[in-house]
Amino acid sequence: MTIGKLKELLDAEVLCGEERLDSDIHSACGSDMMSDVLAYVKDQAVLLTGLVNSQVIRTAEMMDMICVVFVRSKRPTPEMLEIAKDSGIAVLATKMRMYEACGTLYANGLGANPTA
């Protein structure tokens, strides 16, 4: 699916990276532990998280992710959005909780494995 479709499914607000809405995404992961994201994630394009600090964006950048979604109505700081803009990462926010957001995307075909 595209980031635009993800936005629609999660009823999410785009906080930066509007120009990336047409980008294709094939997999995602959800975690509040960045160490785990760095350990287990491979070629996943989207990170869903409820953690708010600049290292979330840096972690996504290190993993070559193109989209970060903040769940539970969490709002990133302006500084985080600046880092995301510099790195070309789209940042979205949804009111959904982690479980619901991940489940919604999964049920609509966005899997956990990029090769699937």
Binding site: D32, S35, D36, L38, T49, Q55, M63, E79
Partner: protein, 140 residues
């Protein structure tokens, strides 16, 4: 192939927000030099974990990256408390990080194991009370 490009960074131990800046810069540099994406990702994740470690455990330090045509060598050195038991520290899930660090999304005990996972060679030299030097090598 003895010619190499060298990058040096001072890692600020007081500022969690800026942690990772050196890794971001290295990632950009390697991209400009035309290294394969998978190599760049491995280098940047290993270095990023190391940078985070230096900030949360050691009060900062220095990162030196030597880029050769056939390999990339990262040396991270600090004057922190040192690692008393390296085998223990290498176990996945073992962490001495504070709750505060965990609330920031780190301290899951995956830092050193991740650094080993993403590099071809890793050597840890540490003296309690003196500091730690970690040398990592990734072959291109």
């Amino acid at each position: 192939m003895t010619d190499s490009l060298t990058f040096h960074f001072d890692v600020d131990g007081e500022n969690f927000v800026s942690a990772g800046q050196a890794s971001v810069q290295v990632k950009k540099n390697l991209r400009e030099l035309g290294f394969p994406p998978e190599i760049i990702r491995r280098v940047s994740i290993a270095m990023y974990e190391g940078e985070i470690n230096m900030v949360i455990h050691a009060g900062g330090g220095a990162a030196d990256v030597d880029v050769f045509e056939d390999r990339i060598v990262i040396v991270l050195s600090d004057h922190g408390p040192g690692i008393p038991d390296i085998d223990l520290a290498m176990q996945e899930g073992y962490s001495t990080a504070t709750d505060n660090v965990r609330s920031l999304g780190f301290g899951a005990g995956m830092g050193l194991p991740n650094m080993k996972r993403y590099t071809d060679e890793m050597r840890i030299e540490s003296k309690v009370g003196k500091g730690t030097v970690i040398t990592m090598c990734i072959f291109v």
